[in-house]
């Protein structure tokens, strides 16, 4: 027990005295999350649009002046080339859209906006069609009135000269029923409701849980891995191996020593995303903290394990593309439902996958313990398995004794 604490105390002292590591551990994830928050959380920019050949167009009213600049064809072409506008719309029939086109995301924005205007055009078309039809119907009604007049005169003439024939005709004539007034259709409107979240939920809010996992994992992984690797490369591990300290005390000491900073880091990070970045969170902050904390441990134990297979810092960092990048892509940042089975299976082996799942449940869906205990249990299982392998891996450094 004493050895365990001596070990932990030493690691705490090492980190406290190494300001840079301390900063990397606690401040760096905050900085990066802030950056990501600005990138994903920013309001999407309005596309800059123009219309040409609008003077004689019926559709002009569909293109509000605030959204669409009025330009001549020449101006528009020039502005498009200079990237001053993202697209211009030619209102000459048939209507055509000309996009700048170099940025797919802006293309999407443009098309979205144009689609809205096109709907208005459709409405304009429908209204004008309706008006035309009304005119036609009115003209016909007039014609019918004239005919009815004639028939009435004919009927009167017949009543006077051949009442018998008239009665026969009236009997055989099909009963005409007066057509009902057509009902004006009810105005259709879409009523949108969200089971979870709301329409304020921006990209960062949705990505947030995954991002938190990724950056916590990344920094703990780097620092934990390098510090254990140093133990090996500087020879201090040999010194430990030539002392009565037990293998589990070494690993345990690392877990406790780093654990202290991990608690601090998890706490600072959770408060930061909740109160400073104001990330969407309907769940319990304490639950978030627990998940971040558990995830950090799996990162720490995995990094110590992998440091066994590295012989210098560079090799340790070479694990990052292998360990971190797949987790970024398979952790739930992007939908993986359509990927082949084996890729999803790989995703199931990744700690961040579970932290993302748990954090989404907590922060966006607001579920309690029942929503995250399983993911948390898997993360703990990861840590335990990694730690046990670690203890056995250290045995290789002390082959003679047990």
């Amino acid at each position: 027990m004493r050895n365990l604490f001596a070990m932990a105390r030493r690691i705490i002292r090492q980190i406290v005295r190494d300001r840079r590591t301390l900063a990397l551990l606690i401040i760096a994830p905050l900085l990066i999350l802030t950056l990501v928050w600005y990138i994903f959380g920013a309001k999407t920019a309005e596309p800059k649009l123009a219309i040409i050949h609008y003077e004689s167009s019926d559709y002009l009213s569909a293109f509000k002046k605030d959204d669409y600049q009025r330009m001549s064809a020449l101006q528009a072409r020039q502005a498009l080339a200079d990237k001053e506008i993202d697209a211009y719309i030619d209102l000459k029939n048939p209507v055509s859209v000309h996009l700048e086109g170099s940025d797919p995301s802006r293309n999407g924005l443009v098309m979205n906006k144009v689609q809205q205007s096109m709907q208005k055009i459709q409405q304009i078309n429908v209204t004008s069609m309706k008006n035309q039809l009304t005119d036609v119907i009115k003209a016909e009604q007039k014609g019918m009135m004239v005919q009815q007049q004639t028939i009435r005169q004919m009927t009167e003439a017949m009543q006077r000269y051949a009442p018998g024939a008239l009665a026969q005709i009236m009997q055989q004539a099909p009963k005409t029923s007066q057509p009902e007034e057509p009902k004006t259709p009810e105005k259709v409107s879409l009523d949108v409701s969200y089971l979870h979240g709301n329409d304020d939920l921006n990209t960062f809010d949705a990505f947030g849980p995954a991002m938190v996992g990724i950056f916590v994992f990344l920094f703990i992984f780097m620092i934990g891995g390098v510090s254990f690797l140093r133990e090996r490369t500087t020879g201090t591990l040999d010194r430990l191996m030539a002392s009565p300290i037990k293998n589990y005390q070494i690993i345990g000491g690392y877990m406790i020593g780093f654990g202290l900073f991990v608690i601090v880091q998890s706490f600072v990070l959770t408060c930061y995303i909740a109160y400073v970045l104001n990330i969407y969170n309907v769940g319990n902050l304490l639950d978030v903290l627990i998940i971040v904390f558990i995830l950090s441990f799996s990162a720490l134990s995995l990094s110590i394990l992998l440091s066994t297979f590295a012989s210098n810092e560079l090799q340790m960092f070479q694990f990052i593309p292998l360990v971190i990048v797949p987790q970024v892509f398979l952790s739930g940042l992007f939908p993986i439902d359509t990927l082949p089975g084996w890729v999803r299976a790989v995703g199931n082996l990744m700690p961040i996958h579970y932290s993302t799942e748990a954090l989404r449940n907590i922060m966006i869906r607001g579920t309690g313990f029942s929503g995250w205990w399983f993911d948390a249990a898997i993360l703990i299982l990861f840590s335990v398995v990694f730690m046990i392998i670690n203890i056995f891996a250290i045995r290789r450094s002390r082959p003679v004794t047990d």
Partner: protein, 241 residues
């Protein structure tokens, strides 16, 4: 007479290279044993195998006449060829940590740290960060870390490399003092005037101990003036055959 450390018929190879080829070595209690040999002859490997940090391909090792156990490490002080210190920590914190994992605590630990710091002339620099130490200071601190728990057996891999002659002499006085208190020391070295201060030396060459004995007796046996010359004499002998 008891044997603090004993290795029998040790073989070791790395990939295709044979590093130790049937080496046997027994230390007697209370002696200073010098392991000498050219660079790459396997001195460090032999020491690490005796310690149990490296596994021999075959052969047997006994620590204090028993199979090595973790407990035996309590009576053992190892100083590696590299300094093996925590650079972020102060000298005091380094010693404090190594003393702690050797099971020391409280006042006894503090007192002992000051004692060993004085012995290696670092008592004025205990609060300094190791990263600000000179090479020689680190070497001495590394030695202090091996001494701090007063072990009975020392394995020192080139303890005096990079030290100035005055300090070196001081350290050897310390080794003799430790020996006087009953400790056994095995030390690897390249420095010939240190060899003369050993009770016995083993000459390691290409993975074998080619000669072993008291320095004076060895030089007499081969009819040469220094231990260094024994290597050359043996080489000549081998060529003659």
């Amino acid at each position: 007479m008891s044997y603090p450390i004993k290795g029998e018929h040790l073989h070791k190879h790395f990939k295709k290279q044979v590093v130790l080829d049937d080496v046997s070595l027994t230390l007697q209690e209370g002696e200073i044993y010098g392991l000498i040999g050219p660079s790459g002859s396997g001195k460090t490997t032999l020491v690490r195998i005796l310690l149990g940090l490296e596994k021999a391909d075959s052969g047997k090792i006994e620590l204090f006449e028993r199979r090595p156990t973790l407990n035996a490490f309590r009576s053992l002080g190892y100083m590696a060829q590299s300094d093996a210190l925590y650079n972020e920590l102060s000298a005091y914190q380094n010693l404090e940590f190594f003393a702690s994992i050797q099971g020391m605590h409280g006042k006894e630990k503090k007192q002992r740290i000051l004692e060993v710091a004085k012995a290696v002339d670092l008592d004025q620099h205990l609060q300094k960060n190791v990263s600000n130490f000179s090479g020689g200071m680190k070497r001495r601190l590394s030695l202090a870390a091996a001494l701090v728990h007063s072990p009975r057996l020392y394995l020192l891999d080139e303890p005096t490399v990079g030290l100035d002659p005055v300090i070196r002499r001081k350290l050897w006085t310390l080794f003799h003092y430790l020996k006087g208190k009953g400790a056994t020391i095995i030390v690897t070295t390249h420095v010939m005037d240190e060899v003369a201060q050993c009770d016995r030396v083993g000459l390691l060459s290409t993975g074998r101990i080619i000669a072993e004995g008291a320095p004076k007796a060895l030089t007499a046996q081969y009819g040469v003036s220094t231990v260094e010359d024994i290597f050359i004499a043996i080489e000549k002998e081998a060529d003659g055959n």
